[in-house]
Symmetry: C2
Subunit: 233 residues, 2 copies
Amino acid sequence: MKGHPMDSICDCNQCELRNVFFESFSDEDLGDICRNKTEFTYLSGETVFREGDLIRYFSYLKSGLVKLFKSDQAGKDQIITIAGPYDFVSLLGVFSDTRHSYSVSVLEDAVLCCIDIESMKEIALRNPGFSMSLMERMGAASTRIIHEGLEIRKRNTHGKVAYILLKFCNEIYGECIFDLPVSRREIAENIGTTTENVIRTLSEFRKEKLIRINGKEIEVLNPAALERISNYG
Amino acid sequence: MKGHPMDSICDCNQCELRNVFFESFSDEDLGDICRNKTEFTYLSGETVFREGDLIRYFSYLKSGLVKLFKSDQAGKDQIITIAGPYDFVSLLGVFSDTRHSYSVSVLEDAVLCCIDIESMKEIALRNPGFSMSLMERMGAASTRIIHEGLEIRKRNTHGKVAYILLKFCNEIYGECIFDLPVSRREIAENIGTTTENVIRTLSEFRKEKLIRINGKEIEVLNPAALERISNYG
DNA sequence: TTAGTGATATGATATTTGTCATATTATGAT
DNA sequence: ATCATAATATGACAAATATCATATCACTAA
């Protein structure tokens, strides 16, 4: 699946994300980026790229939600992280590898800004301030993923599920009521347990009135108690 | 603990690591690095820096073995990774953060090459090729840590212990017989289980003649079987 | 509509893992 | 040498987790 290039190419000068990623840019460099970028829209369920595909773009998410994941030989997936607006879709390997080391697929309709990787390298090479801020931002993204992995690794199943629910509340949606963008199986693939354990744990949280469940809709009724469980209760 | 600056400052021109980290350097830049770096030696058990300390250096390991770890409020440690020669000690946060987000201590007597962080930033800002190769190398380091975290997350205890033993064989020492540089507790802190489980699992591997144990000395007798267990047997 | 498939849900059970107790061996300090 | 402490080791048991079976529900395709 290739995504759908937008007819109306956005104007990078007006891009609300300019300050986030390209603050140190001159107008010329911004023009360069603008000419060498394509915006792609994807529908929920579509694949952006697969592990092993050639890297063509440096890309970041303007809107929507995607998952980064790896598949093993048995076909089982392992979710690395869920990325939202302002997050990078191409991680650090983008400048050193020729092929993607993970797959990306879309959880909620998404718009990606994709900049031709060779152009990106050229611009970085003649704009050291940009290289530096890129390094800072990509460093922060990697640090976040590493940190999240450690947080998950040290928790038991209850703590893991509480942790991921709070991530949806606090980081992804910013509210205590939301539609889960992933299946129970995907939660399991994210936190490293089985689908049944996720379902069971969610049911237990429901019985204890910590959350309300209606299919994909989740409401966190007692965030403080979930925090306690997440911090190992 | 501050480490012990070497009396004989090495000549970066002669440094065997030059090709690894600073390939794109001009002689002038190399001279700059050389003037702004200090080599520190540390003994096994010493601390290089602690989580929360101000970042003063960009540093990499010339020789020896160190652990990168985080401590929680209860004082329990979690090992992020074990780093060897040619590995970075300062990770990606080094250019964006002011304080270290993890601690580093020494497992085997180590020599660190430490370059003043402000000098490093200046040099990177006027040498975009260097920024780029730095980004590539730090990217590869982060990718390795993320990958290792995923590999650990998906294994059960036997698989985790087999995985870490094979890491010592294949990646750290390059032979099947070696002295464990870490305690059983540290292995547990690395793979996310308890000390008892590590000890028990090692004993089981010994009883099944997969390994030979003599205190810290380990010999892997059946790497193929360990591989099978690591790949989930 | 109906059949088929995948997601959610729950129970039963076996296995794995964590916890607690205890003993022995190393290691380091005085 | 002696003491204290940490590391290693093992058993017993409780708790957590994985596995297997089964049922219902939702959704898609024909």
